[in-house]
């Protein structure tokens, strides 16, 4: 048993729902007890969909157990097919139905339904949401793809690509797709199919017509893409176009597979990020310490942008999905740090506290952690809350995505000029520490940090000891001097000084020690 207050991922059948909800004319018959319909509101509320997810729940009750749950499943499947007239259905069990061992696959096969039935085996007690989405998409592709539909010779026609991976409840999937289509249009590449988002089962049968695949979100589409590679000999573009550099590589990779000229796409001048990042107001961003956590794809992309395009120092990098941990470890090695692979948000909180970053990039959970610690934060990955399914166009991918990322990440930080003023006039009451930046709640009074460490966490991780009492180690004079350091770097200064004092074997931190430490850690 694992003690959990919060989970980064839902159960695998929620992943299957994300695929089913993304598609059209597909229905999901889910063997599940009363209450599992809670997942509908993720789609109707967080993603604000105006339609119910295409899922029929069997809703068995305690009194049905041991007698007619199989019958209930068959009745629900028959009714769903009659009512919704889907081109295909997927069938499976939620965690409770997995335990009662009805066999949705066998049961639905025996019914002779008038549409293809795709059975799903989603082990709820081993796997999670992203795996469920990936497996569902793979099974749909494998079972519906018409193997006789293959691509025609290339002469005299444009190259065709499948875009694989966007789902319902995907972080910015809607807008990423717009950017990818823009790039493909500039390269003269036709889109054969986007899947799962917006595809019908009928569309999936034609998947073999494309010359190659674009894997936008490996967590969801990699499995299917590998099967397509094997079955239809379709190569795949696996570069994730998040960031200016990655977008350029993506364009080059697609152009190569399409036999197209990358120049028009590379020459796209809509990317303001490189200039914004070079402008002098961004100088203060240099070597800002950033902690990054999310799904593997977004975390790795964010780390590269942070290092190469914004000049940050990555002081922490991790992801919550073990399946893609290898990429994260490799990227962490490039940053000279150890990757954090965990789905325990308390471990993440401890890592963030220990790293003392100046900016946190993460999920909804890291947003809350950063808020508690009083550190600026931006969201880069699912799981996210309703505000991260915005009405406005806000992709992460492509050149426009890079613009969005620049704004999103930099806004929570104190802007360069503002930081300068704060430092210069820090004795002036209007620029005092407690005033913080005018535009962001993360710079609320520092008291929050003291509160957060005194709370007892649920898990077995010892709470870090931050001595906030000046008495034992710090002299009053040094403590006063420390308070003159701007609040957004004070925590780090305190830690550095204490580490330095410990390493030097000094038993007291006076002014001398403070400035010796400052010299020692000088960038």
């Amino acid at each position: 048993m694992q003690l959990a207050v919060w989970t980064y991922e839902g159960p695998p059948h929620v992943g299957a729902m994300r695929v089913a909800t993304a598609m059209e004319k597909l229905h999901y018959v889910l063997h599940a007890p009363q209450g599992d319909t809670y997942a509908d509101l993720l789609f109707t509320m967080i993603e604000r969909r105006g339609k119910r997810p295409p899922v029929t729940y069997t809703t068995f009750e305690a009194r049905d157990l041991g007698k007619d749950t199989a019958q209930i499943f068959q009745d629900a499947a028959r009714e769903a097919v009659t009512r919704f007239n889907p081109q295909a259905i997927i069938v499976g069990a939620s965690c409770t139905a997995e335990l009662i061992q009805d066999d949705p696959a066998g049961l639905s096969e025996a019914m002779g339904l008038p549409c293809p039935v795709i059975p799903l085996e989603l082990p709820s007690y081993q796997r999670k949401e992203n795996w469920g989405a990936s497996e569902t998409f793979y099974q749909i592709v494998r079972q519906l793809a018409d193997k006789s539909v293959v691509r025609a010779p290339r002469e005299g026609r444009a190259a065709r690509a499948n875009i694989l991976g966007p789902t319902a409840l995907g972080f910015r999937h809607r807008d990423d797709l717009v950017e990818i289509r823009k790039i493909l249009a500039l390269l003269g590449v036709e889109v054969n199919l986007v899947a799962p988002l917006g595809a019908t089962p009928q569309d999936i049968t034609q998947i073999g017509q494309a010359d190659f695949n674009i894997v936008l979100y490996p967590e969801i589409a990699d499995e299917a893409a590998r099967w397509l590679e094997k079955t239809f000999d379709q190569p795949a573009v696996r570069t994730i176009p998040i960031g200016v550099g990655a977008t350029r590589s993506f364009i080059a990779d697609v152009a190569e597979l399409a036999g197209a000229d990358p120049t028009p796409a590379l020459g796209d001048t809509s990317s303001r990020m490189p200039w914004w990042s070079r402008s002098v107001d961004s100088t203060y961003l240099t070597s800002k310490r950033v902690f990054i956590f999310g799904d593997a794809t977004h975390a790795v992309a964010a780390a590269r942008i942070a290092r190469e395009e914004l000049g940050f120092e990555v002081c922490g990098l991790g992801c919550y999905a073990r399946e893609f941990a290898r990429d994260v470890r490799a990227e962490a090695a490039r940053c000279g740090i150890e990757a954090l692979i965990t789905d325990d948000h308390l471990a993440v909180e401890d890592a963030i506290t220990a790293a003392a970053p100046e900016l946190v990039l993460g999920t909804q959970m890291e947003r809350h952690i950063a808020k508690r610690l009083g550190i600026p934060c931006a969201v880069i990955s699912a799981p996210v809350h309703v505000q991260d399914f915005p009405a406005r166009h806000s992709p992460q991918m492509g050149f426009e995505g890079a613009n969005v990322i620049f704004d999103t990440w930099v806004h929570p930080l104190v802007m360069g000029l503002e930081e300068h003023l704060l430092t210069m006039f820090r004795e002036d009451f209007e620029f005092s520490d407690e005033a913080g930046a005018s535009h962001h709640a993360a710079h609320s009074p520092r008291k929050a940090q003291v509160d957060s460490v005194s709370e007892a966490p649920v898990a077995d991780i010892p709470a870090p000891v931050l001595t906030d009492e000046p008495g034992n180690l710090w002299t009053a004079e040094a403590e006063r001097e420390l308070k003159k350091i701007p609040f957004f770097v004070r925590g780090k200064a305190r830690r550095n000084t204490e580490n330095f004092a410990a390493a030097e074997g000094r038993r007291q931190i006076d002014l001398e020690t403070l400035y010796d430490a400052k010299a020692h850690y000088a960038r």
């Binding site: 207050v5 509908d40 509320m45 969909r49 105006g50 069997t58 629900a76 009714e79 809350h368 649920v458």
Partner: protein, 434 residues
């Protein structure tokens, strides 16, 4: 579960009281778009501040709680899920040992916990993990510091607010005994927001009813006493099991309307006053100011709601008393009143006021019910968040039901707030010009 519930085929044919024979109830089964009883934890843990709720379940249960709890999960939550894994199911480890380990660790980390509820879920019920035994065993180890109780909030047994019913029913056996020779005491049953509870306590004090207990108490270790001299007043309509448990300890129910609106609240207060022999003139004097305030406040909202047609989809069992209030006090027209479970005895008086054309339904087949909503086209449909936006997408105005469970809506001073919850979506529909 009552034996009748297992025999729904014949239960429907059993003889019913006269009044009910005249009112047909549409009973349906099929897909239910409702929460399970685990959701009750979200408000119960705010009410009982020394209690912790540990769900023994799957990742789905944890996901449900975090989806339902929204941002609350990050404050200092007093609930968590012990997520069962492959090895717990495959018998590779003893599930009871695992539970001991998790509970011991939890109690070490959280010394502030005084009462721990082990909450059963669908997976734990299906594999028949004996949480009662676990609660007993662990209780023996951790008493007197921590009292450990258990109940089931599983979807296969409980719908939404029934989770509170199961939780309170689990508290009844550990309530202190009220001596047989003690004076009659009043017990208010059902969790109410503190502000509402305080209003009621003040009114009862003004009537001279000295000892009034509340179940749940704000502190789960300070439970009120119960015995043959306890008269209890249900503040919520979903407390069938709790009422049975209280009766089992000799307490007697005070028959009353539920305290929604001017009439419901007046009736509820008067019923208690009668049972305690409070002078009628004094009762009226005590409730008069609140009645008058509520009457004035409601008069402003009545024109907005009068004649508007409303349908309730099943959610919390609050549907019947709320429908009565909206019909009788605000002039709304009831089209269909759906409830997940209809407790006939507790709701008998509420149902009497329903007009003959009100369609009353129990249980749910969501697709057929939505077909009826589309055919009826009510002015407003009360439903869950899984259905609200899709119905708005079809041009139907909705009121999401969960808010009715989380907002203070009982009593005189909340009567207008309650009406406003229904008036606002209609006003918004008329305001928007896009």
């Amino acid at each position: 579960m009552s034996p009748l519930a297992t025999l729904d085929g014949c239960a429907a044919e059993l003889a019913r009281p006269e009044a009910e024979a005249q009112r047909p109830v549409l009973r349906e089964r099929g897909q239910r778009e409702v929460f399970c009883g685990l959701t009750g934890i979200i408000w119960l843990h705010r009410k009982m501040q020394d209690a912790f709720f540990l769900v023994v379940g799957s990742r789905t249960c944890a996901h449900l709680l975090q989806s339902a709890a929204g941002v609350m999960i990050f404050a200092e939550p007093r609930f968590a899920t012990a997520i069962m894994e492959e090895r717990d199911l495959a018998g590779m480890v003893d599930a009871q040992d695992e539970l001991d380990r998790v509970v011991t660790r939890l109690l070490e980390r959280r010394p502030d916990i005084r009462t721990l509820f082990l909450v059963g879920s669908c997976p734990s019920e299906v594999i028949k993990l004996d949480l009662a035994k676990a609660a007993q065993r662990l209780g023996a180890v951790h008493m007197p510091r921590v009292r450990i109780l258990n109940y089931s909030g599983s979807g296969i047994e409980t719908t939404f607010t029934q989770g509170e019913d199961a939780c309170l029913a689990a508290l009844v056996p550990v309530m202190p005994a009220l001596p047989a020779d003690s004076a009659q005491e009043l017990l208010i049953v059902g969790s109410l927001p503190d502000i509402v509870e305080d209003q009621f306590l003040r009114l009862f004090a003004d009537m001279g009813i000295a000892k009034v207990g509340c179940l749940p108490a704000r502190n789960a270790r300070d439970l009120p006493s119960v015995g043959p001299n306890t008269r209890y007043l249900l503040a919520q309509p979903f407390l069938g099991e709790t009422a049975m448990a209280l009766e089992g300890r000799g307490a007697k129910r005070i028959e009353a309307l539920f305290p929604f609106g001017v009439e419901g609240t007046s009736d509820w207060l008067r019923a208690a006053a009668n049972a305690f022999g409070v002078d009628k003139a004094l009762t009226e004097q005590v409730i008069a100011p609140g009645r008058e305030r509520a009457r004035i406040a409601l008069s402003k909202l009545r024109p907005q709601l009068k004649g508007k047609r409303i349908t309730f989809l099943p959610d919390s069992q609050l549907e019947v008393p709320l429908a009565r209030y909206l019909q009788d006090e605000l002039g709304m027209e009831l089209v269909e009143v759906g409830t997940p479970y209809l407790h006939r005895a507790h709701l008998a008086r509420e149902l009497e006021s329903f007009g003959p054309n009100v369609r009353l339904s129990e249980g749910q087949h969501v697709e057929r019910q939505l077909d009826r909503v589309r055919a009826d086209r009510p002015d407003i449909t009360v439903c869950g968040l899984g259905l609200a936006n899709p119905l708005e997408g079809e041009g139907l105005t909705t009121k999401w039901a969960i808010e009715l469970v989380f907002s203070p809506i009982h009593g005189f001073d909340q009567a207008a707030d309650l009406a406003e919850l229904f008036a606002r979506p209609l006003r918004r529909r008329d305001m928007l010009e896009i």
